[in-house]
Amino acid sequence: MIDLEIMKTVEALKGLSGDQLTAIQRCSDKMEFNQGQRLFSEGEDSAHLWIVLEGEVELRNDRPEGQPNPIEDPITFISKAELFGWSSFMPPFKYKLSAYCASQKCEVARIEKKSLVKLFEKDADMGFELMSHILRVIGTHFYQFRNGIARRWGHDIMSGW
């Protein structure tokens, strides 16, 4: 289980009460990885939200060489007390990037999405609080992706065929 003190420092969970954090704690389990080990792969079913408890996790694209690249690949490092795995809340419910342990050791917590949604159904205050945060993250990613596409297509038109 995740340490409640760490949960209190996670930005996305800051608006939740002690009871709500305890409920989330019950749907989670702890895992350890060594440097370079993969937590999950791009394209796998995204059934969990993740929190970094110790170390640093890298999110990156595993696209094979030669496969078309829509826009520049993002490389993101997730530090202690940060949440990731938001694609578990949006179709097609597959991870968009692969996650690797980037530090010597990584300790992470997995929160099962199905159990989390059940909690949201019972406790709408918690659901609203967390969905507001999730939507901000998803929206920002889409916003950046769409702007990247618009820039690329705009450039194609201006230098045009």
Binding site: M90, P92, A124, F128, D156
Partner: protein, 249 residues
């Protein structure tokens, strides 16, 4: 005037009860736009969510000194679908411009502040709408990713020859079938147009497919069904349908 029945059919308001739908209705107003009208511009404060009641809206990026066109379209929003979710995501500015892409667009405009107020009063309503919104964004995100890896912009042109001889032979039905396929494909990057007679009246309706890097292909004696086949197999699949090609025999 719209009612709860219409709102219930909109994915964004899925699973809301009657009272919640009525409350949302209080934040809505209707507005009509003519073809080509700009609903809002890129960078403007995003103060509303929109739902297409009738017609189609294109979300486009603007280019300095160039008129807008279908080439600039990132997404096309059909009836009963919502757009303008930037009103719920920082920096609360529209990231694209919206244009009416059908003859007339009837839209439901949902006031963002009013809706956010309802969320604060009823967290269950907020939770349901935000969850639905995450699904909508997820689907658009996925569609755009597929589109972005499929083909660069404007590499495909489909021209239906709509001169009098073509129209008499059924070119309008061909154009309608083409537009239906276009809407289904989610490929606003494909450039569809019309032009006059190519001097082959007995073979009308004619359709020309131009794919960058390949010779143009003219199809003859087209029907709605043949158009659908050509669109699926040639335009999307790259396989020329030789049975229908002009002078191919």
């Amino acid at each position: 005037m719209i009612g709860n029945d219409f709102l219930r059919s909109v994915g964004l308001f899925k699973n809301l009860d009657e009272n919640q739908l009525s409350a949302v209705l209080g934040c809505c107003r209707e507005k009509q736009y003519k073809s080509g009208a700009k609903l809002f511009g890129e960078g403007e404060p995003a103060s509303n969510l929109y739902i297409v009641k009738k017609g189609q809206v294109d979300l486009r990026f603007d280019l300095p000194g160039r008129p807008t066109s279908g080439k600039n379209t990132i997404s096309s929003i059909p009836e009963s679908k919502a757009f303008g979710w930037s009103s719920f995501v920082a920096p609360y500015k529209y990231s694209l411009s919206a244009y009416c892409a059908s003859q007339v667009c009837e839209l439901i405009i949902v006031d963002r502040q009013c809706l956010a107020g309802l969320f604060e009063e009823d967290h269950r309503l907020g939770y349901l709408v935000l969850s639905n919104m995450a699904r909508v964004i997820g689907k658009r995100f996925h569609k755009l990713e597929k589109l972005a890896t499929a083909a660069p912009v404007s590499t495909v042109k489909v021209t239906v020859h709509l001169a009098t001889c073509g129209i008499v032979a059924g070119a309008r039905d061909v154009m309608s079938a083409l537009m239906e396929e276009m809407n289904r494909s989610g490929r606003p990057d494909i450039n569809v147009g019309s032009s006059g007679c190519i001097g082959k009246c007995p073979t009308e309706p004619n359709v020309t497919i131009e794919i960058e890097g390949e010779d143009p292909v003219v199809y003859q004696k087209m029907t709605a069904d043949k158009m659908r086949q050509v669109f699926q197999q040639h335009v999307l699949g790259g396989k020329i349908q030789t049975d229908f090609v002009l002078n191919a025999q």
